[in-house]
Subunit: 678 residues, 2 copies
């Protein structure tokens, strides 16, 4: 190029260069390293390289584009517009050539590394960088004089036309290759998987001619209770469908340890649970594929995350070693393998990626949470808590990330609670108790009204009020403490509450009467319920404190509550209860299903896989079981709230320090009150 050649400026990148008249915009973009997509390599077939020339305005780049700065609209573009439609003002980058100085905008949908829109403002952005991509190639025909295989000529074409050195083809590729090449007249579209870490690129699928469709990937979060799946478009990054199913392993045991016990005590028990969870995953693939009108064989990649027991069972590894010290994982590396190896019914050449487990109790789900919430890229010190049967806890910032698991047991999920139940219509999820009268008001799932609102009984579903879900349990016990119904030690029946009629005898102890149904069925919070929650929250708190000790800090800057439970919990009540270390309330946020989000990030961005593998290797693992300080924190944390933080208790009523809750706590409560369950 010479100084007199036209200047081409690309936005939004700002990259610029001079190019000879007649240079296609796509060629200019590639020369400058501008992120402009193309599947067909500039043959005017794929239309992925659409650009928006900026005509007639004085640009901040100092270039004024004239209408004739690009070559005229041509027949290829006209054919494409007639067939598929094209936004006015758009041009095909491979057809429009440089004629004069021009500013060319690359719209987001034409960028390979486009950003995926996320709902949460504070969430990390996801940039598209999928492991599997499409390439259109023209393959040399066979020549008897120089015999070579069809695969080898395809490999040469990929190398010459796309710079893809030695993409390997396995037996399934060989089986489909010859008909596709001939049907496509030696032009094919191939899906290439870009390697498992350092592994070779692999040819996954070969379509005759130009493949008009997209390719899809599935992100799975295998939880003890629920298996969830998101079907994503691997080109746009869009979530096309999401679905969840009860983990059918529940019939072998409600919680993780009972499933491990089942595997230990029943020959074939682990295999039966492996079969069950794989069937559930396959059922989900069917659901999301049907919802998105995608053939399940078009799903060419999948990512799975799960806690160590789910991870091992999915892979067909007996989880019994996770049931006793030293809680040895079969592997703590990320895994890559074929979908057929775990019987997934998707593309038979689909590659599966499994995030690494961090430690025997801190699984690939925690790694996915780390990927989603990025404590390793946080400037301030963030505590991430994924609450479940085991709480998985991360503490860290750019300098260092620590992780541990704390044996909270299933109380937070409503198990071991007398009126506990799953989050389902009829379950009490929000509670307030009047500090003076000790009278409660509450809301149930599936009903917008509070229990003291007019028409509440009529607005209830047919099932009425059925029990208390996990987040409801947290709220009622925190409210009981705030109202003085329980004392610091968790005992029900303080002097203040004794005469209220809500504090009723229950065997040798007292219980708090939260509700009595028209049929006379009582929903009680018993002393045993309070004790169970005290133990669970003390374990959670002690785990977090242990990490803080190891880091040498007395407080954290932010708290993120992850997981489905974390999404519904009220931060204020969690803090009253002493579940989490003190932190300004506005600094406590919910990340929703962060593990599922992490799986989706790994699906859409292969660099994120390398990142999390590296982060997991560097995470400092802290084992709670062998750490004496854990026991100490645990014992101190049984009180409501815990004794280790300075928390004033006056007249049997906990006074919330203004700095922690202030007005925003009330506002938050009020806002939540009016908001339907998310």
């Amino acid at each position: 190029m010479s100084d007199t050649d036209p200047l081409v400026v690309f936005t939004p990148s700002g990259k610029r260069g001079r190019f000879a008249v007649g240079t296609p915009i796509l060629t200019a973009a590639r020369a400058l390293g501008v992120d402009l997509d193309s599947v067909c390599g500039g043959r005017g077939i794929c239309s992925k390289c659409q650009v928006a020339p900026q005509f007639g305005e004085f640009s901040k780049h100092g270039v004024t584009s004239a209408e004739d700065a690009l070559s005229e609209w041509n027949a290829v573009e006209e054919r494409y517009r007639a067939k598929r439609g094209m936004i006015d003002g758009r041009r095909l980058g491979c057809q429009a050539t440089v004629q004069g100085d021009v500013v060319v905008d690359v719209p987001p949908e034409s960028q390979v590394h486009k950003q995926v829109v996320r709902k949460r403002a504070e969430a990390r952005e996801i940039v598209m960088d999928p492991a599997t991509r499409l390439y259109y190639v023209e393959v040399a025909e066979p020549d008897m004089e120089h015999p070579s295989g069809d695969l080898e000529r395809l490999q040469e074409a990929l190398a010459a036309q796309w710079g893809l050195a030695h993409a390997v083809g396995d037996l399934r590729t060989l089986q489909m290759l010859q008909p596709a090449l001939r049907e496509g007249g030696w032009k094919v579209t191939v899906a290439v998987h870009h390697g498992d870490g350092l592994g070779p690129a692999r040819i996954i699928q070969v379509w005759p001619g130009f493949h008009e469709g997209s390719i899809y990937g599935a992100a799975f979060d295998v939880g003890s209770t629920t298996v969830a799946c998101h079907l994503c478009d691997l080109v746009t990054g869009e979530v096309l469908a999401s679905s969840g199913l009860m983990n059918p392993q529940i019939r072998f045991g409600e919680d993780l340890m009972s499933r491990v016990s089942y595997a230990m005590m029943n020959p074939g028990g682990a295999a039966a649970m492996t079969k069950a969870v794989r069937e559930a995953a396959n059922a989900l693939i069917g659901q999301v594929a049907a919802e998105a009108r995608v053939d399940r064989e078009e799903i060419v990649e999948a990512v799975f995350v799960g806690n160590p027991v789910m991870h091992h069972l999915l892979l067909g590894i007996d989880p019994k070693e996770l049931g006793w010290a030293p809680f040895a994982l079969a592997t703590n590396s990320a895994l890559n393998f074929w979908s057929t190896e775990i019987g997934m019914e998707m593309h038979p050449n689909a590659r599966i990626y499994i995030l690494p487990c961090i430690a025997g109790h801190v699984g690939a789900d925690a790694a996915a949470v780390a990927l989603s919430e990025g404590p390793n890229v946080s400037d301030d010190l963030v505590l991430v808590v994924d609450v479940g049967t085991n709480a998985e806890i991360l503490l860290g910032d750019r300098r260092q990330v620590l992780a541990c698991s704390s044996p909270t047991g299933p109380a937070f999920e409503g198990a071991q609670i007398s009126a506990g139940q799953r989050a389902a219509p009829g379950a009490i999820e929000k509670v307030e108790i009047d500090p003076a009268t000790k009278e409660p008001r509450f809301r149930v799932i599936g009903c917008e009204l509070w229990s003291d609102d007019p028409g509440f009984a009529a607005a209830l579903g047919r099932e009425g009020v059925t029990g208390i879900c996990g987040s409801g349990i947290i709220e009622v016990i925190a409210e009981m403490r705030l109202a003085g119904v329980i004392d610091e030690d968790g005992a029900i029946g303080s002097a203040a509450a004794a005469g209220t009629g809500r504090c009723v005898p229950d065997g040798r102890t007292h219980a708090y009467l939260l509700h009595e149904t028209p049929e006379g069925r009582r929903i009680l919070v018993t002393q045993a319920d309070v004790r169970a929650i005290q133990l669970a929250k003390a374990a959670l708190y002690a785990g977090a404190r242990l990490l803080m000790d190891r880091r040498g800090v007395k407080k954290v800057d932010r708290v993120i509550l992850a997981g489905a439970f974390g999404a519904h919990i009220s931060p204020k009540h969690a803090m009253v209860l002493g579940m989490i270390p003190d932190c300004p309330l506005e600094k406590v946020s919910s990340a929703g299903n962060a593990a599922g989000t992490g799986a989706r990030i790994a699906l859409l961005n292969s660099a994120a896989r390398r990142e999390i593998e590296s982060v997991v290797r560097r995470i400092e693992k802290v084992e709670t079981a062998t750490e004496p300080r854990f026991q100490e924190h645990f014992v101190n944390a049984i009180a409501v709230p815990h004794k280790t933080d300075p928390f004033p208790v006056l007249n049997g009523v906990v006074t919330l320090p203004a700095v922690a809750f202030g007005g925003s706590g009330d506002e938050e409560g009020g806002r939540r009150r009016r908001r339907a369950r998310g």
Copy 2:
């Protein structure tokens, strides 16, 4: 080591060095790079490092070993001898330590890279260098404080104790790993497959403790007619069992092209043939495993060779592209994959290796022949002919190797011949015709006597004389030519034969009456039979000549006849017929099943895989179908013998030039006459 340290000399390598008193012999051997085996790494468990100290004799190495040159026989050795037995005079290299100057012999069975004994004196030696090997390792126990996976600790142990960097473990390895480690008390034996070319080493199997057994491999030769399998010990190299089965694809078509046609014309036809050949291979695995008393799951590796159609069908690739020009292979590279990918019932982690195909008609079987017969390492120019439905022909020496395939058709295999049959009891395999009387004598398979020997009729099997096998056809037609029953053009009924009573009318032509059974059934050689053999041999000869033209030579130094047919053919008659270019008769040898041998070499020596891959890439492929010179040679070669060599024909009787046949031809004939078949 210092100059005053004892001198240790190893035989047969002659390697020597000085070592401090107390150095174990195994350590000394390793320091010097002496080929001394050890699976347990010197822990006194495996006994693979047995050595034979040479005491009390003045050695050619200038060292006189005293009885006390090694440490005393110890308890580990005594325990091993009591348990397993040990040859007198042997010591365990890991237990015996250097005390004075000593000569130590490493017997062949203690060498890793031992030579495998081969029956043929001229055959290339096979040096053991198997891809899959055993390693005994001690693995660190899990530590809660530093959580890492069992796999990762095994990988660290392999790296530290054997220098094996990052051997990968797949899902099946992970599934077996944890119980094996615990059952073995953190000591395990692992079978590691050393990579597919540049691929990673792979952990194939994990046994608790020291694995007393060996590991096995299977070498398959998938022919159009027969599928053969050799079961080999991957430590000793020994062939433990061999077996063959009719290729069940025969029911879809006798020859290759009829099977390709079947695939073209029947939907699912290729898949049915794939299923059939895989079932045959699995049946063979069962047979050889049973014969060798080996569990089929102990077979951890297999190698397959076959012509391109068999290669594609085994792999589940539709072979139809091999049925028409340009005869495009799906791939011309060597392949590596898991046994499960082609449904082989052996160790589920067994790796399969397939030699590369050379061209559309020159398959992995020809590559295996090249590996076995080594034209690329020959000092003189050698022609290797593998006779079958297609003749695969190699011509070369160290400088260059050429290859082609020639469409001989199935006549050499007895198909398309009126009295033709498979080589089975009752088939005529050797023939002589008296040049004066035109009377024949012959021998049949399964009977030691010639047909004119007394008691021949009684010695015949129940089936009597049933037909003529492939090698018998060659002999009878060559003898007919030598006796003047046919002329140069192949016409039966020359003047000399007309009146003999052996030359009988057969439609519009004549036939030669070879035999009439007591029941009056006549075994004839018809004019059509002669024509079929003329066409077949002309094709074979023309292919060889084409390669010679390309190489620019008029003659070759040696001819090797490969294949089952080549093993039974009489070189003299092949030359009379003009099947092969002229060459001194003593320079014509039979290599037996060279393709099967090549498969076995690839199984036992992984360096041979790299070698043949490189040789195949460098082989110059010559396509007969498009080469005008091929047609020319073919037409000239239809005469018996061919017209392109100076071959005197006098008085209607071919006179064999003394240089070609001389006395040795007769001796050879006499020797063959007295020798039982095969």
